[in-house]
């Protein structure tokens, strides 16, 4: 932390630099943990390339190809060496560059997570505020109850339910799959993503409503809101001018965590809806012991999560002058 006595003019860059160092360190720790965990699992990445009928010579050749015949320390050095050069390598199984596949998968997972996230906010913010402001009305209580229920329901079950109702019975949306030309045809992608996005949106909204409700309740009981009212602002004016901004500060960090969770948790939704996203890539790669793919996905996911945390932090500072001043040292 920068002390007020610091002569150097501290900037937001120092803060970014520090965050960046943490990011790199986290990535390294994640990489090492992953390396160890993967090797603790019984099995061999060469197996994914072989079938029943392969002879000893073929088994050895496959092990040599993927490097699983090398001593562990040598495998580790190779792995760290590649990582240092930002080289995620090529998949053992498909022979394709890992980066290429991750890039293709991200075009599914990122829109899925972001759209689900946007939908969740669109549902949760008005309902959360409403349930706090009108806590003593029947619908205020109803919203709270329904959101509690929503939290208890697992995401895959919501997905299956939506498929049964909207795809199998009503035939409004596809039950799964992804258009093969991807974003060359936005309409088809959005159509394919409709139910998965709704699934994520509903589940995430359920938990967000609670946070927004309690944040709003805090704001409602605050002194500054009372003061604003005393100075002549109407209730809604005071709420919009002072309440939302103050209430948003804790919500932003929750949102950051929720978004990160959605990106990583897309694995379940992707499976239910047969979407070729990052989650299904990870699942398959672990099953096949395709180390470069597992490492690549983890590397990118860790990066994404850290970046989201970083962005949420920055955003909080932007909307809250008190935090901003602390970070830039401008208060001195």
């Amino acid at each position: 932390m920068l002390r007020p006595s610091d002569k150097r003019k501290p900037t937001i860059f120092a803060y970014i630099l520090r965050r960046f160092a943490i990011l790199i360190l986290s990535l390294l720790i994640a990489a090492v943990v992953l390396f160890v965990l993967l090797r603790l699992l019984p099995g061999d990445p060469a197996n994914a390339l072989l079938s029943v009928g392969a002879d000893q010579q073929q088994i050895e050749a496959a092990r040599e190809q993927v490097g699983s015949n090398l001593p562990l320390w040598e495998q580790f050095l190779r792995f760290v060496g590649n990582l240092a050069r930002f080289d995620l390598g090529t998949s053992f199984v498909s022979g394709k560059p890992v980066v290429e596949e991750i890039a293709a998968r991200l075009t599914v997972t990122v829109p899925l997570a972001l759209l689900g996230f946007a939908l969740a906010i669109a549902i949760a913010v008005p309902l959360g505020i409403l349930s706090a402001v009108k806590a003593n009305r029947w619908y205020g209580a109803a919203i709270s109850t329904v959101s509690q229920l929503g939290i208890a329901i697992p995401v895959f079950w919501v997905g299956i339910l939506l498929v049964t109702v909207f795809a199998v019975n009503l035939r409004l949306f596809p039950s799964g799959g992804y258009p093969r030309r991807g974003w060359q045809n936005e309409g088809q992608v959005l159509y394919a993503l409709a139910l998965p996005v709704l699934t994520i949106g509903l589940v995430m909204a359920a938990s967000l409503i609670r946070y927004i409700r309690s944040a709003t309740q805090d704001v409602l009981g605050s002194d500054y809101l009372r003061t604003a009212r005393a100075l002549g602002a109407s209730f809604s004016q005071a709420l919009i001018r002072h309440g939302i901004r103050n209430g948003a500060v804790p919500i932003v960090s929750i949102l950051g965590i929720e978004l990160a969770t959605t990106l990583l948790g897309a694995v379940v939704v992707e499976r239910v809806f047969a979407l070729p996203g990052l989650g299904s890539m990870l699942l398959l790669a672990i099953e096949q012991r395709d180390y470069p793919n597992v490492q690549g996905v983890l590397f990118i996911s860790t990066l994404l999560v850290l970046l989201i945390g970083f962005a949420a932090d920055l955003f909080q500072r932007l909307i809250d002058p008190r935090l901003r001043e602390r970070a830039t040292g401008a208060a001195t």
Binding site: L50, S51, G53, R105, P174, S175, G177, R180, R181, L284
Partner: protein, 513 residues
């Protein structure tokens, strides 16, 4: 060189379409559930896009680089052709070969290639390409599961562009059959892991890993043009998601239904056709025949008698599937009904155990792959064997672990596994195979069968081997999977047996509207 020329012209003159519809009607005649299958031939859309739903996505696009069974499904006969074709009915017919000559000693095969065949890239098919294609499969870094079966090839010569001479170190009656697994690829093709250059009726349009693989019609195809414009293999990891896709019309046909419970919703619905064909996938309780107590024939026979296979099959597949008494399915030429050998009989199982010195039973660990149907089968075996005093400890492992622990290290007592291959009784002639069955008579019979001068002699030898492994209860063959294809009733003409996981798409017709 004097030799006897076999004229293959007769067969090749019959159009592919003609041949296949004969086979299809023969196959359909055996089935009761597919009444609608031939009804809609009249008004099909020749440019239709057929969406094929499958659970078997290839891992890459090269069958010598460990692509898995999914690549056979998508590419065999569709994108790549071979010198010979293994048809859905199990026959070996000429593919890119127009004429073959076999020397009297059976050691030299001369193949004349079909003229005017071109690869998708436009290059003409030459003998060099064939030589290159065969060498790819037997190369040191080849992962092909068929590599071993081509080991007798000692040299390949190409006297001219249209002639390939294959020399063998020993007679190999299955050479044409084995060559049906060898894709003919352009020797100039670069990236076969993610691309292709074959001669088939379809070319690769696009592969989106984790989702779909699209093939479009090759308009320069040498043979009969496909009856559809494109086929898209849509991949799923979850059987329920796949079934929903068929229910909602997102896919037209499912290549192989693996969730018995889901069949009911399609069966009584006129919008769908359910077809039950013959698979070659066998569910096995494989013992490690090297270790106590399974090195004792009596123990193995006792276990076979203690298990009610019929009840097991019924509880998993209902009315579908077939009981087998050995490793050989009815579609292999050396099939004989051996279900009577060690039939279900608890009392004689107990007697055999007593004779073997295990009157009080014993316990063993059963390595069980973690995917369907193995865990359910393991529980069934546990309760069946408990009745004769045998205690089963179920050890659930992943497919990858299975390969390391059971297949490579032979570190197991007994395991469950599904064996998908066609004509794979040869595994019992290899004492180093994971189950460690070692009977010199069987080893010899299998070796001799390959050196047989004609198919009758081959069939006689393998039938004999088949009887011996059954009498020895080398493994316990629980049942043969059914091969169930479900389609929208707008779609006809797909293969029903899925032999060797192949799914020829070129005769699929989709009614236009």
């Amino acid at each position: 060189m004097t030799g006897n020329t076999i004229d293959l012209g007769e067969l090749s003159r019959l159009s592919r379409k003609g041949r296949r519809s004969i086979l299809a009607s023969a196959a359909l005649a055996m089935l009761s559930t597919s009444t609608a299958a031939l009804a809609q031939d009249a008004n099909f859309d020749p440019d239709a896009s057929v969406v094929i739903g499958s659970l078997y996505e290839p891992q890459n696009l090269d069958n010598t680089a460990g692509a898995g069974q999914g690549i056979n499904e998508a590419f065999n006969g569709n994108v790549y052709e071979a010198l010979f074709t293994l048809t859905d009915a199990g026959d070996v017919t000429p593919g890119l070969v127009a004429e073959q000559t076999i020397s009297e000693d059976g050691l030299t095969y001369t193949f004349k290639l079909r003229p005017n065949v071109t690869f998708h890239s436009g290059d003409p098919l030459t003998a060099q390409d064939v030589k290159h294609s065969i060498e790819r499969v037997v190369a040191p870094d080849s992962k092909s599961s068929r590599k071993k079966s081509l080991a007798t090839i000692s040299g390949i010569e190409t006297p001219d562009d249209q002639t390939v001479v294959v020399k063998l170190s020993a007679r190999s009656i299955s050479l044409p059959y084995n060559l049906s697994y060898v894709w003919i690829v352009n020797d100039a093709a670069k990236d076969l892991n993610a691309g292709e250059d074959g001669t088939g009726p379809y070319r690769l349009d696009e592969w989106r890993r984790g989702s779909s693989l699209a093939l479009s019609r090759n308009d320069k195809y040498w043979g009969t043009a496909p009856t559809n414009g494109e086929v898209v293999f849509q991949y799923f990891t979850d059987a329920t998601a796949l079934n929903n896709a068929l229910l909602t019309g997102a896919v037209d046909v499912i290549t192989s239904v693996q969730s018995p419970d889901s069949i009911a919703q399609f069966k009584d619905n006129p919008d769908f056709t359910v077809t039950a064909g013959q698979s070659t996938t066998k569910e096995l309780l494989a013992f490690n025949d090297r270790v106590e107590p399974f090195n004792n024939v009596k123990v193995r026979k006792a276990i076979a008698r203690a298990i009610d296979d019929k009840k097991l099959l019924q509880s998993i597949w209902g009315e579908y599937g077939t009981l087998i008494g050995s490793f050989v399915p009815p579609t292999d030429p050396w099939y004989v009904d051996l279900t009577g050998v060690d039939a279900y009989d608890v009392e004689s199982a107990k007697a055999l155990l007593k004779e073997a010195g295990f009157a009080d039973g014993f316990s063993f660990k059963l390595d069980t792959p973690n995917y369907d149907p193995h865990p359910i089968v393991a529980q069934f075996l546990q309760s069946e064997l408990a009745k004769v005093g045998i205690k089963v400890e179920i050890n659930v492992i992943t497919a990858n672990e299975w390969y390391t622990k059971v297949y490579k290290a032979h570190d197991f007592q007994a395991t469950l596994q599904e064996h998908v291959n066609h004509r794979d009784i040869v595994f019992y002639g290899n004492p180093d195979f994971y189950w460690g069955y070692n009977n010199p008579d069987v080893v010899d019979l299998i070796k001799e069968s390959e050196a047989a001068a004609n198919t009758d002699a081959q069939t006689a030898k393998l039938t004999e081997a088949n009887r011996i492994i059954a009498e020895d209860a080398a493994s316990n063959w629980l049942y043969l999977y059914p091969q169930i294809v479900v389609s929208s009733s707008a779609v006809t003409g797909y293969p029903v047996n899925g032999l060797n996981s192949q799914f020829f798409a070129y005769n699929i017709k989709k009614s236009g509207n």
